[in-house]
Subunit: 228 residues, 2 copies
């Protein structure tokens, strides 16, 4: 369970304070599927980074599975992150010297999975994401949408308890975007992973069971929706 | 005028050949406004890079304003690029150590514009793109959509004869995306810049006067459309 309580995140630039998160209360139960939408600069990526233990609140509390994460040291946060969370970055952050297959394989190497199981999962993920023919390409030898799909594959491959996706379809055509969302939704449905998707695309946002809207660092709406 | 004739672009990876452009014929007259759409990996960015003199064809000809660019040396290509072409990259490619304002100012410094004119244009572009409050932020202190808008500002600020935009709204909400397209279209309408936009968003693609569809490195459709 994800519990944010009065969370603020203030950045200092020059003499100024930027209130990227300005008092966020949010509870997400295990297995939920929520979309976060809002204007550019409204705090969506900052929210996802705090939830994903990549950033800390300036004020307030973040309890993850009952543990107050603000009391944890860096090593514990890193371990929790590796074991519990998959993150698709808005800017992908792939390893430049590794191929598509190696980038997807990396979390499994860190988790100590045996080689045969790693190969099996990489093959499956590459195929599901339409990347099989590009498995040996490095990021600079891939299109923007192919890089995005590698980033998604890497986040999914360990079937993490929580999957956070920051604009996962922004560089994909409609069909590839729908394929990706179907894969993420299958993990949510069949394995109960908690799925939190930031998106600018209402067609993508409309698929979730819950819709969270942000504006100026705050949540201004948070309600169930049908999802398609 | 942009004239591509039987253009191919083949990448070699390991022992394999990737036919990113596989026989492209394309003529774009001065002042035209065209959208390029197609699936992820179909060759859109490669096409834009060839048109923008950032890449060379493996076969075929690219004539720009009557000059066969394949006969030009690197220095001449770089000069033509700087003087004639503005490019919005799919991955932005901002200078990490410069602020938003400095990134936008850079092409004008390279062109030798005087400081007062540079300041005037930067102020205007920042305001038009909704970035005034973030002018002093460096790229790592900006949201994804803010970085995208800085990349657009940098491409526009010299009012180049040709503006090439690779998925300029992929990280923007609908409203910010429409604002950006309105700015680019104003340059096309009022200054006669040739505008070529790659996009996955049919709402964006539908605004152009001409629609070019790509598939597997080829142009499979190329026709006028109403544009909105
Ligand atoms: N440097 C490279 N080396 C090898 N293959 C490449 C290279 N750059 C691109 N490719 C391949 O060429 C094809 C076309 O790439 P391109 O980037 O033009 O696609 P795109 O239409 O822009 O896709 P997207 O919509 O995902 O951005 C892709 O299949 C890609 O893997
Ligand atoms: N490291 C930082 N230092 C200073 N300001 C920052 C930093 N990171 C983000 N910001 C600011 O905080 C605000 C929220 O940023 P965030 O990246 O969360 O927005 P976003 O909703 O994801 O936007 P987008 O839709 O454009 O990706 C923005 O106005 C941004 O300029
Ligand atoms: Mg963001
Ligand atoms: Mg591309």
């Amino acid at each position: 369970m994800i519990e944010l309580e009065s969370v603020e995140r203030v950045f200092r630039v020059g003499g100024e304070a930027v209130r990227a998160l300005d008092g966020v209360d949010l509870t997400i139960a295990d297995g939920e599927y929520a979309a976060v939408m809002g204007p550019s600069g409204s705090g969506k990526s900052t929210l996802l980074h705090v939830v994903g233990l990549l950033d800390r609140p300036s004020r307030g509390r973040y309890r993850l599975d009952g543990v107050d994460t603000t009391t944890l040291g860096e090593a514990q946060r890193a371990r929790l992150r590796r074991e519990r969370i998959g993150f698709v970055f808005q800017a992908f952050h792939l390893i430049p010297r590794m191929t598509a297959a190696e980038n997807i394989e990396l979390p499994m190497i860190l988790a100590g999975l045996p080689p045969r199981e790693r190969r099996r999962r990489v093959t499956r993920v590459l195929r599901d994401l339409g990347l099989a023919e590009r498995c040996g390409h490095r990021p600079d030898q891939l299109s923007g949408g192919q890089r995005q799909r590698v980033a998604i594959g890497r986040a999914m491959v360990m079937h993490p308890g929580i999957l956070l996706a920051d604009e996962p379809t922004g560089n994909l055509d409609h069909r590839a975007g729908a394929q990706v969302m179907a894969l993420l939704e299958r993990l949510n449905r069949e394995e109960g992973i908690t799925l939190l998707v930031v998106t600018h695309d209402p067609a993508v946002g409309g698929r979730a069971e819950r819709r969270i809207d942000m504006l100026d660092g705050r949540i201004v709406a948070d309600r169930p929706q049908r999802g398609d």
